[in-house]
């Protein structure tokens, strides 16, 4: 690592290579919002790029989003036609337990969801016509690990206030197709 070499930052950038399915040439503003929740339901980050409609205040909106994910998780776990032991409806599920979902689509937006083994939930809301975002969410999770978790000044469980993370996120989100 060359800390004092004055080389351009792009050489030492810790962000991993963008996954396939993203193209810098076809930059579109497809992303609407991103939410990051931790295991206990605290909203670590809310970021929006394009949101003309707002029905609730920010705090209520985040609570509603977490509630929706929680219920959809128990819904899919119970609905799963494959596994025999499905537990009972409404009991909180551990990360990775039971059948989960990765995306849903309505006529106006598409929500992609990822849960890390430690219970961090990433929610990306995009244009309904965009492709599968499972890889994109993994990439955003990598950005989170690099710029937030590895930041020595970051206290876990507190809202993310990292300039570097935000700029990298904005940059990446512009490339989503």
């Amino acid at each position: 690592m060359q800390f004092f070499s004055g080389s351009s930052t792009s050489d030492v950038s810790p962000s991993p290579a963008a996954p396939p399915g993203t193209a810098t040439g076809l930059a579109g503003n497809n992303a609407n919002m991103l939410y990051i929740f931790n295991r206990s339901g605290v909203c670590l980050l809310y970021r929006e790029w394009h949101r003309p409609l707002r029905t609730l205040d920010a705090n209520q909106d985040q609570k509603l989003m977490f509630g929706l994910l929680f219920s959809l998780r128990s819904f899919t776990a119970k609905m799963d036609p494959i596994s025999a032991d499905k537990g009972s409806l409404g009991v909180p599920l551990l990360p990775g337990q039971g059948c989960s979902f990765y995306s849903f689509r309505t006529n106006t937006y598409k929500l992609s969801f990822m849960e890390s083994p430690s219970g961090v939930k990433l929610i990306l809301i995009t244009n309904p016509k965009t492709s599968d975002h499972r890889e994109s969410l993994k990439h955003i999770y990598n950005l989170y690990v690099e710029y937030v978790v590895k930041n020595p000044l970051y206290v876990p469980g507190t809202p993310i206030r990292s300039e570097l993370f935000n700029t990298n996120l904005d940059q990446y989100v512009k490339t989503l197709i």
């Binding site: 609407n32 919002m33 929006e48 394009h50 949101r51 003309p52 409609l53 029905t55 609730l56 909106d61 509603l64 989003m65 509630g67 929706l68 219920s71 959809l72 128990s74 819904f75 899919t76 119970k78 609905m79 799963d80 036609p81 494959i82 596994s83 409806l89 059948c99 989960s100 979902f101 990765y102 995306s103 849903f104 689509r105 309505t106 006529n107 106006t108 937006y109 929500l111 809301i125």
Partner: protein, 114 residues
Amino acid sequence: MDTNDSLRLASLWHSMHAISQQLSPTTGCAGIELLQADTFDLHCFQSLTGTKFFVVCELGTLHMEALLKVIYELYTDYVLKNPFYEIEMPIRCELFDLNLSQAIQKDRIALLGR
């Protein structure tokens, strides 16, 4: 899955559908159409009167919207037009059950040709 569970799942789905409309970033959201889970896909169709039909299928199954429309037609024909059917009550119509299983069994190509 027993009757209680299906009732609870149905009411859960109903509220999820409504919440998803609240969270939309733009106006004119009509609720969840497709839910993609690890082991299944769920397609949902809402009629103009608010009756919701959903079908749980294998990952990546195509033409489910068409199937849901067919089921909706069967529902209007064999359930709503049945003089002995009381509205908002559980459906116990033999003809509907029969035609429903036929529609599901029917070759997908026949469905495509509609």
